[in-house]
Symmetry: C2
Subunit: 255 residues, 2 copies
């Protein structure tokens, strides 16, 4: 029974796409069947998997519009996982879905027929609390929240938790918070270490803060340019190890 | 005659809020009359100006809803500029405005009566291409595009330029692109230098790439926590000097 996990945080640039890509690749490496879904019109995840977003005819936008997933929308990545890509067309979906019936449930309805083909379905969310994010949370079993160890990223989490509560009461009562993943920690700076401490003090024990921490490294931006997950582009850096350990822990939680 | 400048890029975490705050503070320091508008439900700009977003009753959301700006919505910052704040209520505005008449022109209509009280009105955009961003571009004279010197940020600009073209043909024919501001350059890494080169090769001379470059420094995140613009929190760092020089150049362009 596939577990649907949405990687969400409306604060921009905290590592949502990077986490979806690397957690997905690491879970595939452990032998799990994985589907990645790009739900951001920027198409960052699609790019990191080596596809040109604007060259694709079948994307998640077409599936949301038609209310069903054409089989050719599912494409292969180089690391065994499947991908449902996105491109800038998806920016239209929010305005087009607004007036449709059960508009928050479109994505959940599309995933229903294929959910059991996978162990994990990871959804990369866009940096907003709009209708696409509502769709992703309505379709999901749980939410993983990456938080960059910087002041503004910490402050933004309250708005996200409020939204999750609303979704739990009105749209998806089984939605849980999987946990928080601290990212962009930089040993050279006091500030990021202090924010990590604040994240733990503020959210534990109600919300799990994963022990794996993703340290800042320029290798991540280089890996994106090389269109590879960092766990293959720079295997030995602490961040790559942390994503592999995170995958082991999440896979272990699942069994 | 106030110049309305929107700081926009749908890629998250590239320095939109930091640029609005520091360019605004630096323009105020040069004697210009400045209004800052927070158009992001995260309320990052409101926070950096020392206000608790959720404690405020009058925000840009109320003005958009009523179609007019109550005088008490305008609040003072500690650096002479005025601020129209935002909080998470603004996330509702997108869904509520969708079905209203002339939905893209709400912000422009609100600013009309106060435009001439300022030399510069700076709008901090949220990381998306939705209706609030459309509103900001319809109300603006020009767009300043911060781009972090990292691969994914560079790739996202095409979608933004497409949207600007659409706004120019359908909603606001006088909208111009002020220029591109390169941010998060890190002398210690080859990658950011290469991306800066790619930004210049790809966009110049059609689009101006400002000579001022905002280098990466943890002082920015610390300044946000201290709720001060970095130009006051850490005056001597290269990034603070760059924002002061940028303000001088933009002020000079205006005369
Ligand atoms: N641990 C890290 N250290 C340094 N850079 C990182 C790290 N993780 C991701 N990055 C880089 O930081 C930038 C932001 O990461 P990413 O795009 O994954 O964030 P996001 O939350 O998906 O952004 P958006 O809000 O735009 O969707 C990218 O350029 C990425 O390559
Ligand atoms: N030049 C810089 N060097 C290092 N850190 C920076 C720099 N400019 C901004 N920051 C920090 O990087 C993070 C992202 O910046 P900021 O919030 O201004 O980006 P944004 O584009 O407004 O993000 P969002 O897309 O979420 O609105 C913040 O924590 C900020 O303090
Ligand atoms: Mg992303
Ligand atoms: Mg911002």
């Amino acid at each position: 029974m596939g577990q649907v996990l949405v990687i969400a945080n409306q604060k921009g640039g905290v590592g949502k796409t990077t986490t979806t890509l690397n957690l997905g690749a690491a879970l595939s490496e452990l032998g799990a069947e994985v589907l990645l879904i790009d739900l951001d019109p920027q198409g960052g995840l699609t790019l990191c998997c080596g596809y040109e977003p604007d060259s694709l005819e079948n994307t998640i936008y077409n599936a949301l519009q038609k209310g069903e997933l054409a089989p050719e929308t599912l494409i292969k990545t180089k690391f065994r996982a499947d991908l449902i890509p996105a491109n800038v067309d998806l920016a239209l979906a929010e305005m087009e879905l607004i007036n449709s019936v059960a508009r928050e449930k479109r994505l959940a309805a599309i995933l229903e027929p294929i959910k059991d083909n996978y162990d994990f379905i990871l959804i990369d969310g866009q940096p907003s609390l709009g209708l696409l994010t509502l769709n992703s949370m309505t379709a999901a079993d749980s939410v993983l929240i990456p938080i960059a160890c910087e002041y503004l990223a910490l402050r933004g989490v309250d708005g996200l938790l409020k939204m999750i509560k609303k979704v739990q009461t009105q749209l998806n009562s089984s939605l849980e918070i999987k946990g928080i993943l601290a990212t962009m920690l930089d040993r050279r700076t006091k500030h990021t270490g202090q924010v990590l401490k604040q994240i733990k003090e503020k959210f534990e024990p109600q919300i799990k803060v994963y022990p794996q921490i993703i340290y800042r490294s320029i290798r991540f931006a280089e890996a994106a340019e090389a269109q590879k997950p960092v766990i293959y582009y720079a295997k030995k850096i602490p961040g790559a190890q942390a994503y592999r350990n995170l995958a082991r822990e999440i896979r272990h939680e699942d069994i």
